[in-house]
């Protein structure tokens, strides 16, 4: 079997149309990441997430000629995963979303660093509050927060994944953070200036 380890995702994507192994290598690189991402943006079962993941890769394969080499492959495949997840749950009309417990710590670590919360606060209490706030946020805010603080994507990548201007990404993240800060404030948590 060919070794693709020195190939970039983008060059593998270009090879995929004619080389199944190259596509297999891409699947190998992204299956865990995308599975985790799908789990994060929905409350779907393991089986459902696997179905969505499989649909994502099959769609990526069919649409591989539509891949824009000016985009990163990662953004492109995340976009497909995001859209497939939305389509999958469209029938249910509501996309169930909660923040998974295992993600809570990472979320907390990243988001608190971003809003300058001092270190000596009760992190457990904050985590609980964060989960409450996040579950009350609409999907449009939650999607950007998950990509920013759990998937650790840049504004540019989020813009490419969600197909929206960078400015809108920034606005949504700021609004979500403001809401978060409001909660923090009303809960008497001290913020650095």
């Amino acid at each position: 079997m060919t070794d693709y380890s020195d190939q970039t995702d983008e060059s593998l994507a270009l090879l995929s149309a004619t080389d199944h192994d190259a596509f297999g290598a891409l699947v190998g690189r992204y299956e865990q990441k995308l599975y985790r991402y799908i789990r994060r943006i929905t409350d779907a079962s393991h089986e459902e997430c696997e179905d969505i993941l499989q649909e994502t890769f099959l769609k990526a394969y069919r649409y591989v000629h539509n891949f824009d080499p000016l985009l990163s492959f990662s953004s492109w495949i995340y976009r497909i995963a995001h859209n497939e997840t939305i389509s999958h749950f469209r029938k249910r009309s509501v996309r169930p979303q909660t923040i998974k417990e295992e993600d809570g710590t990472l979320y907390l670590q990243n988001i608190t660093a971003d809003i300058n919360i001092v270190d000596d606060i009760d992190r457990e209490a904050l985590q609980q509050q964060l989960q409450e706030v996040l579950s009350s946020l609409g999907p449009k805010y939650k999607d950007v927060l998950i990509l920013r603080y759990l998937e650790e994507k840049s504004y540019q990548e989020i813009s490419d994944i969600l197909k929206m201007p960078i400015k809108t990404v920034g606005t949504r993240i700021n609004r979500a953070k403001k809401q978060l800060q409001e909660i923090v404030k009303t809960s008497n948590i001290i913020l650095t200036p």
Binding site: V27, Q54, L58, H65, D68, S159
Partner: protein, 265 residues
């Protein structure tokens, strides 16, 4: 079975193949071609609007006892405005659907589309496209032309002392009076503009197939029961009209050619 193998097996079993590249290229270029088409259509609207605005009877609006604002609003080319706005909205939606259209924020995109349409429209106006469109509509759809050019309706009120029409017959009835038959699909019957020695005429005279505007008084020929209009002033249909120079000019009595050349107005 791991998911990677499952996916590769599904591709194999269902013989899934990538959608050909040309289909995506077709869509990509198709959207940009459509954008260009919408931009040009919107610009045609701008060119027509600019043309109609410059020829909007600014020289005679006060003869119609109208204020400038009333005149402006009563003669705005609302259909062209609607067409222009529709093209702008479609252009916005079309660009948004291009491959990288999502990157642009709404306001700059709207202003860019608006600015480009206006600039292109002004360019088209200066090379005479606005006038060509107006002429084409008037010639091919005379009965509906006033929808595109509301001034045709505003100028079709002989009872208020204003009449417009296309010259179809010029008839010298005596040494001092000429009867000019005009065609106006917005008015019933045949209209005859009576030109007397005191009538102020365009410096270039009146020719067959010219469109003219006449200021004067409605009369009726009791014998023939034809609609007559006694003209005090006859003006070309399309003049810049910003300076009502005809009011200052001395009365001019120019010979009216009976077999004039056809002019595009």
């Amino acid at each position: 079975m791991d998911i990677k193998q499952k996916i590769l097996d599904t591709i194999e079993e269902k013989q899934i193949t990538p959608i050909p590249a040309w289909k995506f290229l077709f869509r990509t270029y198709g959207l940009w071609i459509l954008s260009g088409f919408l931009l040009v259509l919107g610009s045609f609207g701008v060119a027509s609007m600019v043309f109609l605005f410059t020829k909007n009877d600014w020289d005679i609006y006060n003869e119609l006892n109208e204020s400038k604002i009333t005149h402006l609003f009563s003669t705005l080319p609302y259909l062209w405005i609607a067409i222009f706005l529709l093209m702008l909205v479609l252009l916005y939606i079309d660009i948004r659907h291009t491959k990288r259209g999502y990157k642009y924020t709404s306001l700059p995109l709207v202003f860019a589309a608006l600015g480009t349409s206006i600039l292109l429209g002004l360019g088209l106006h200066f090379i005479g496209v606005g006038q060509k469109i107006d002429t084409l509509i008037t010639k091919t759809h005379p009965g509906q032309a006033h929808i595109f050019n509301p001034r045709l309706k505003a100028l079709s009120h002989p009872e208020k002392g204003i009449l417009t029409g296309r010259v179809i017959i010029i008839e010298a009835t005596s040494s001092s009076t000429t009867r000019v038959y005009v065609e106006n699909p917005l008015l019933e019957g045949r209209w005859i503009v009576i030109v007397e020695p005191t009538t102020i005429l365009p410096p270039t005279g009146i020719h067959l197939q010219d469109r003219i505007r006449a200021l004067g008084k409605e009369t009726e020929d009791v014998e023939t029961e034809e609609h007559e209009f006694l003209a005090h002033v006859i003006l070309p249909f399309n003049t810049m009209g910003l300076d009502p120079g005809w009011k200052k000019r001395e009365r001019q009595l120019l010979p009216i050619p009976l077999h004039g050349e056809e002019y595009e107005d």
